[in-house]
Symmetry: D2
Subunit: 333 residues, 4 copies
Amino acid sequence: MDVVEFQPAFEEYAFTFGGVAPVRRVAPGSALRLWSDDAFCGALRAVTDLSSEKVDLRYVNPQTGPFYVEGAEPGDTLALHLVSLEPARDWGASAHIPFFGGMTSTDRVVTLQDPLPDTTYIYELNRARGTVTFAARHGDLRIDLPVEPMLGTVGVAPAGGEVRSSLVPDRFGGNMDTPQMRAGATCYLGVNVDGALFSVGDGHYRQGEGEACGTAVEGAMTTTVLVELVKGGAPPWPRIEDDTHWMTVGSSRPLEDAWRIGQSELVHWFGELYGLHAMDAYQLLSQITEAPIANVVDANYSAVVKARKALLPTAAAYGGLHEELRRRAASLF
Amino acid sequence: MDVVEFQPAFEEYAFTFGGVAPVRRVAPGSALRLWSDDAFCGALRAVTDLSSEKVDLRYVNPQTGPFYVEGAEPGDTLALHLVSLEPARDWGASAHIPFFGGMTSTDRVVTLQDPLPDTTYIYELNRARGTVTFAARHGDLRIDLPVEPMLGTVGVAPAGGEVRSSLVPDRFGGNMDTPQMRAGATCYLGVNVDGALFSVGDGHYRQGEGEACGTAVEGAMTTTVLVELVKGGAPPWPRIEDDTHWMTVGSSRPLEDAWRIGQSELVHWFGELYGLHAMDAYQLLSQITEAPIANVVDANYSAVVKARKALLPTAAAYGGLHEELRRRAASLF
Amino acid sequence: MDVVEFQPAFEEYAFTFGGVAPVRRVAPGSALRLWSDDAFCGALRAVTDLSSEKVDLRYVNPQTGPFYVEGAEPGDTLALHLVSLEPARDWGASAHIPFFGGMTSTDRVVTLQDPLPDTTYIYELNRARGTVTFAARHGDLRIDLPVEPMLGTVGVAPAGGEVRSSLVPDRFGGNMDTPQMRAGATCYLGVNVDGALFSVGDGHYRQGEGEACGTAVEGAMTTTVLVELVKGGAPPWPRIEDDTHWMTVGSSRPLEDAWRIGQSELVHWFGELYGLHAMDAYQLLSQITEAPIANVVDANYSAVVKARKALLPTAAAYGGLHEELRRRAASLF
Amino acid sequence: MDVVEFQPAFEEYAFTFGGVAPVRRVAPGSALRLWSDDAFCGALRAVTDLSSEKVDLRYVNPQTGPFYVEGAEPGDTLALHLVSLEPARDWGASAHIPFFGGMTSTDRVVTLQDPLPDTTYIYELNRARGTVTFAARHGDLRIDLPVEPMLGTVGVAPAGGEVRSSLVPDRFGGNMDTPQMRAGATCYLGVNVDGALFSVGDGHYRQGEGEACGTAVEGAMTTTVLVELVKGGAPPWPRIEDDTHWMTVGSSRPLEDAWRIGQSELVHWFGELYGLHAMDAYQLLSQITEAPIANVVDANYSAVVKARKALLPTAAAYGGLHEELRRRAASLF
């Protein structure tokens, strides 16, 4: 299989979902190898680089894309299988951006208090050991943490002619910021416009659930992704499948509504997968779901609801597409 | 070590935290073996037993206790180590109670819609295989699920002279409904009144995160618990420690505020454990916390925030009390 | 009509709803003239008195009561008609209490930010002109504002054996903090325990809707109240009737749920008052309700939903009790 | 003064803020007389017209505009003074749209319950008496209600290249659905793009605060509006001034965050108007603000925070622009 490589120049980045012309056309079945910059556009390179001084808030969370998927029409299902995520720099950055994050007032959760101190953390990457290093700024503690690469942002153009900031997660995917979006996962998104116009970005070398301070270990990333198209069957909200779990992602405020969306979407998906009546799926899932919070910091909060396949009878979504994509991914190397 | 056994008669149950005279006095260091009824007081024994007909809502979530811990004073820390949780019946029950649960309007999230159909599910326990069996009510699907016993409710008397329903989770613990409250866990609670007056109940043979339908696989439980007292150091909100994780539990509405409480409490705990400045703890935890939702159905919603010990330097809470309790627990058998 | 006068000594104050023995027994039809201290127990008397230094948080929002209403049983309706509210001191106090209020993080909406500066404002009362004077602390601006006395807190003992802090509004009334609770209003509360055990307190010489900073112009108050009892008919949530409006008060978090409760309660009340089908009441009220926020600072937030009588056909609640109480009130003077 | 008249053809309607070419260019100082269709595009004309059958959800809330204001640049302040709002049809329509509204689960507040029955209400307009008539669908009650025309939607193109559905209220204004947007009001909006690109629509012949069922008495409207431009001074969120009040409008979820935005914006505006320190403005506004809920049904909820000018010293916003526009409006007739 050929792999299409794409590394955008700065002026090629997209900062919205929708409203941007595609950078490439790709056929279903394509493999792409995409370079994405970090959410700060690489502006934070030392602890002395403060987000309030170095980051232009009009240009954050740059997206690599959008890609026009040939044949994709509204109502179809786009499947994006993440084959691999490789850190593309030797360091990641995180920052306590003033009035941004989960443990501070923000432009939406407004108070009259002063902001937390703008602070930058640089995490050195050790490729050999597969670690990034936390280094305290107010003490000497240093901790090596495993690299667990993920993409904060995967999405398509929204419905209804909307154009949304790349900071927003919603039905179209976007800035969901869940650690579940990692190599080995297949993300299913409903197509809203011809060509789907998907993009990816916001690589994280690792991130805790909730993304408490608003920024993960943000890092440039090289992502290899397989693109497939299923005619019809557009899920109302993003779904993720990996080898072990069925997952849905809801995004809204307050956080319980994000969870409600995720839980309800999984109830309906279980109707498709197992022929379960909604009341039975509701009951079963009440006893087996895992519900890791994704983010409590973005324009919408996101919650993942997931069910472990090993607890369940065998089932196949979209004709067993995930397994097929796993096979194709294995053949890439 | 002697083990104090206690099985309450119905009239000995407590339905509140606070406001009830203790059933026993126990010394710190005691081991208790406690029988607790299920949240329905055992009223649902067949799928034809409907919660709207059989459950007296004035008598739900019965608590075994309260126990007066000798020497406990306000400001102290009560440590409850769960040694073992053993299903005390051969079946558990779950129900879609009208206007109760996470996928329905409720008395707090009010709409004018009709309730979901009142439906009862009975889960047969197979002790040999360690499973309970989900049986669809609108189809033939049956699924054996692993028994993973936990306690929905662990708490002490509230502060400020308050008396709270056993359905409520808050600073005093209570109905947190997290699967983390399982054998091997030590729960730390701040003492608000002389004797602490703790109680336990609401056994679940298993429960998904979120407890979506409002009821788990509810079952009578035999709980063996070690009681310890630390003078001073009362945590503002419940903490849980097990062999693998440091955990905090926040309970409030909306759900993001439950998470905020948990995240903030872990930041402060990390200050104690590792001497970390709050900004550094905030940063570190942003990259490593797991954030499983506990419940989105009770009077307050609960979220757990947890950090994996294996990622971190060695540290000891409360003088290594958890390890000590693990040792004592091992010696019980 | 005799008027029972009661001015509590400090040790006679109640700081909870429920859990306190009655200070007096009163017969339905009684008139009471009650003295209540301000929410700070009178501790803030000059701008140099800081809440963080002078206020003992275990003793805030003192309630005058509870009163045992003879014949009141669970399921009955207690009617409290506010005849007059008279400032009982020549000044009121307000304070920006650290981590309390609507424009700051709190113990429930937790952030890691520093608190706002603890600041006290003293409002001099001019009885002749009927004003209290705002005096800026960071400038020279002084503004005379009309005195518009109200009670922040009116409530009964809760159901289910609960005891709640006097800072909490809920089904039992309590700390609703709505300017609608003023002279001329009749408040209807469902009775949960024998004798109802109502109390009043938290006088405000005036308050904006939302009570943004968490404290109004807090002042000692002399309240004249008529007590009546309606057998049966307990409303699930507080209702208020005055000469111009039908009102309901919902209290919960998030604020939309407080509003939902209020809106739904008014839909159901309109069923009683006008025989309207719920869908018709829903429609009609969608076009006529006023929805002033009461408080966004207490343990539960409160919202008032009200409908103007002048827009509607004549109707009588509880047999025209409000009009009857207005007549009796007029005869008191 | 010339008055520019504009009645769009259907294909000229905008269904988004942003993303649409202007229909006209207008100079600051212009008067416009604009026809807008109702939110249903006129599809509901009888009670037998059901929203689920007649309304194409891709084409709801049509906007008249956008208008390009000459000289308007990002950072400027657009002032729109509503001179008059005249019902343009002899009836208005309201509907209980399935899964839309405040007393039902929705696509964001998801439950598994059935929807409320889709029901349409037609309100006949009596121009002579200035009333619309509520007619019960499940009984005989008919009530004449005063016509109080308002615009649900007034907004400009969003910042950051976003394009938002006309159903959304946010910083750019949009679907705020507040009864305060009536004749005599001046709305100030921050300009985000060259020309501002404002539009108006969603006429309501009357609406209750909260817009509980999701739809007001929706009606085609003829709006006369004066357009002015202030260089610089862009308010972060919409402001409204009329002869009696200073007002701000916040829009977010949960509802308390909409209120927080409004309250905070008024604090900051009072800094401009009266030179008040933020702590003093916070205190003063805590005692005088009115806080009517606007909507609890749209993609963001909206709350108005307002302060009565009569309580305050004289002040002028934007150089007394509102008074000037009132004078010009008077000269129009």
